[in-house]
């Protein structure tokens, strides 16, 4: 197959090392160009959890050495230190690895969706030739298939994404949903950013210290209020996200019940990630109110992670199926040029024989001449049909190259490695 992967990931290296070899989009593109200039295909996939170089078409040992040297140079590391944690996979193993990566099966959280976009981005800025082009396209296809045919990616994997997913389960698209952030701490801010990334508007920030509220609301473009103003701010709010260090409840059932009267039945989703809790648990009993505290969110995450692990088995089967299809395609590349040469030879013989018989055929009408052409074409096609099918079958096994050589030898075909192995420009 002549496919090579060298890389580093969260499975083998700590973040201190991973961050040093991490490449941004431009650096990944530049490294791919640099390696491709040596005559091989190259794609660099770099995320916060992995940096992997996929190479094809060069002389394997040299390419691997160059790749490792290039990575070490960029990271400012000694090659030996980097080599100790690098993994190296070849041919089929490298292909399966990429398919698993694209499907999210090699991620920290099984099935996470971001990696598929990162694989696509790496492919787009890389220097793939025929082999890596097919490999990455099929890997992206496998990733999509895993997401559509299994439930592996349907559930959140962190408390903040669980909160956002639950809010979506109440409101649907969060675009236009107004969020009230209570507390100006880091955890609340992170959860608010998660909601914001899904289209929600951080409309109000409430905090005991108005200054801190103003500072944070300035970053989100919202309004700052004090905790005393909380009950009156609820009317136009869809999601309340609370994470203060207050010792008592900052919102009571009565506060929310009063606000509900002006909401015309619109639901209110409340997330309480503070310990001790900020929001009166009795709020959850109100019609149209859904209150989730930190334990509730963690149990949602635990439930969904268990679901992801169950689905991982199905996802692995899809990945192996796609990898097998890729292997069959790769194997068929060995015999396709031989088949093409054989067909070209047969067609050449057919045409030359028709040319030799042209004088005798001139007595025929136009329709009769076309009939003769068609008959000779059909004879060639029928004769070559079975050998073509058998060759492709052999290619799917391990004997493709042997059969291709035998064919060339028997029919005197030239060396016909016709497919271009140059990376795209």
């Amino acid at each position: 197959m002549n496919l090579l992967l060298v890389g580093i990931s969260h499975r083998v290296a700590p973040v201190e090392l991973r961050e040093r070899v991490a490449l941004d989009g431009d650096e990944a593109a530049a490294l791919a160009r640099e390696l491709a200039a040596e005559g091989c295909e190259a794609v660099c996939l770099s995320t916060c959890n992995r940096t992997e170089l996929y190479l094809a078409g060069g002389t394997a040992p040299d390419v691997a050495e160059r790749a490792v040297a290039a990575l070490a140079e960029r990271a400012g590391l000694e090659e030996g230190r980097l080599r100790a944690v690098l993994y190296r996979l070849e041919d089929e193993a490298a292909g399966i690895h990429l398919f698993r990566v694209a499907a999210g099966l090699d991620s920290m959280v099984p099935g996470e969706g971001e990696i598929l976009g990162q694989v696509r981005a790496a492919f787009e800025v890389g220097q793939p030739g025929p082999l890596l082009d097919r490999l990455f396209r099929q890997a992206i296809h496998a990733g999509k298939k895993v997401r559509t045919e299994t439930a592996i990616a349907e559930s959140p994997a962190s408390v903040s994404s669980a909160a956002a997913a639950l809010a979506e389960q109440v409101f649907g698209d969060l675009t236009g949903c107004r969020v009230l952030l209570v507390g100006a701490g880091k955890i609340g801010e992170l959860a608010a950013r998660n909601l914001g990334s899904r289209g929600a508007e951080i409309a109000v920030v409430a905090n005991r210290s108005l200054e801190k509220a103003q500072e944070l609301s300035g970053r989100f473009g919202g309004r700052a209020i004090s905790l005393e103003e909380l009950p009156t701010a609820l009317a136009g709010i869809d999601v309340v996200l609370s994470s203060t260090s207050a010792s008592g409840h900052v919102l009571t059932r009565e506060d929310v019940a009063r606000a509900l009267r002006d909401r015309k039945g619109r639901p209110l989703f409340l997330i309480d990630i503070a310990v001790p809790r900020d929001l009166d648990p009795a709020i959850h009993d109100l019609d149209g109110c859904y209150l989730y505290d930190i334990d509730d969110l963690e149990s949602v995450v635990a439930e969904t992670l268990a679901g992801r692990r169950r689905e991982a088995g199905r996802a692995e089967a899809i990945v192996l199926d796609e990898a097998e299809r890729f292997r069959a395609w790769e194997a068929s590349r060995e015999v396709v040029p031989a088949i093409a040469s054989l067909r070209a030879l047969a067609e050449e013989i057919r045409e030359s024989e028709l040319d030799r018989a042209r004088a005798r055929l001139e007595r025929l009408t136009e329709a009769e001449r076309r009939a003769v052409e068609a008959v000779t074409s059909r004879i060639v096609d029928k004769l070559l049909h079975v050998p073509t099918v058998k060759m492709k079958e052999a290619a799917a096994g391990a004997d493709g190259a042997v059969y291709a050589d035998a064919l060339r030898h028997l029919f005197g075909l030239g060396d016909d490695a016709a497919s271009s192995r140059h990376p795209r420009q």
Binding site: A151, G265, T304
Partner: protein, 262 residues
């Protein structure tokens, strides 16, 4: 010919019902099979209704069984607007199994036989029966949406929403759709009732129990619209009201053979 088209429709709907059940347990390929089952079954049933319309001299669905056949088609048609979206596949589980049962009941009642009722004009039947059935189909779909809303709302209240995420429409979406479907169905029922009363007045006759049930059904759904838009009734209370109205639709459908086809 009608028989030949009936069985593919029933088979495809049955396949969809089974596949929806499979999809509820394990989302994925089964959901797509279900959607295709609904599509193929709907095409076969549409062809069946087309053949019946072409062969009949008048309104072909003027029997109890015929009207049931048309009712199922209208329900599935309404569902098809949303059923192809993966998040609405849980609704398919509420819609397709009853659709299969009702279509089979229609066949047992002779829905595939051509029948012309001379007692009513085709125009009256098309207007009255067509509008009432379209409204009932809308109420049935809104009841499915309301049931899905209540089930999902309960899961959220019990903090058991983990399995729902990404698999079901949001509460707000379900509630809005339910309101929209009722808003479409109430005018249709109003038209059907008016057509019925115009004929009753011109041809004579008395108000029977079924007509009263239908009027009460209209009143419930009209009240739903007033409460929803006037007083902001949404969510759980609105869903319960839709289910109460749907119970009256079931009574009306079951009472139909006793009053109109006796």
């Amino acid at each position: 010919m009608a028989e030949l088209l009936f069985w593919p429709a029933l088979l495809a709907y049955s396949e969809a019902a089974v596949a929806y059940a499979g999809n509820a347990r394990r989302p994925g390929r089964a959901g797509r099979f279900a959607t295709w089952g609904v599509r193929v079954g709907w095409l076969a049933q549409t062809a069946l209704l087309g053949v019946q319309a072409e062969r009949s001299d008048g309104f072909p669905w003027d029997t109890w069984a015929g009207s049931l056949d048309l009712f199922v088609w209208l329900v599935v048609t309404a569902y098809l607007f949303w059923g192809c979206r993966s998040r609405f596949r849980l609704l398919g589980l509420a819609v397709m199994p009853p659709a299969v049962g009702l279509l089979f009941a229609a066949w047992l009642g002779g829905a595939t036989k051509t029948h012309v009722n001379d007692a009513y004009s085709s125009a009256f039947l098309a207007l009255h029966v067509g509008l009432v059935l379209a409204a009932f189909a809308g109420f049935t779909l809104s009841a499915g949406l309301a049931a899905l809303y209540l089930w999902q709302e309960r899961r959220l209240k019990l903090h058991r929403a983990g399995g729902l995420l990404g698999r079901a429409p949001s509460l707000v979406t379900l509630d809005a759709l339910e309101g929209r479907v009722v808003a479409f169905a109430v005018p249709a029922l109003t038209g059907g009732i008016v057509a019925g009363f115009v004929r009753l007045r011109s041809h004579g006759g008395s108000v029977d129990a079924l007509m009263i049930v239908t009027l009460v059904t209209w009143a419930v759904f009209a009240a739903y619209l007033v409460l929803r838009h006037g007083l902001g009734w949404r969510g759980r209370r609105a869903a319960y009201l839709v289910l109460a109205g749907f119970a009256l639709v079931v009574v009306a459908r079951l009472g139909l053979p006793l009053t109109h086809f006796a």
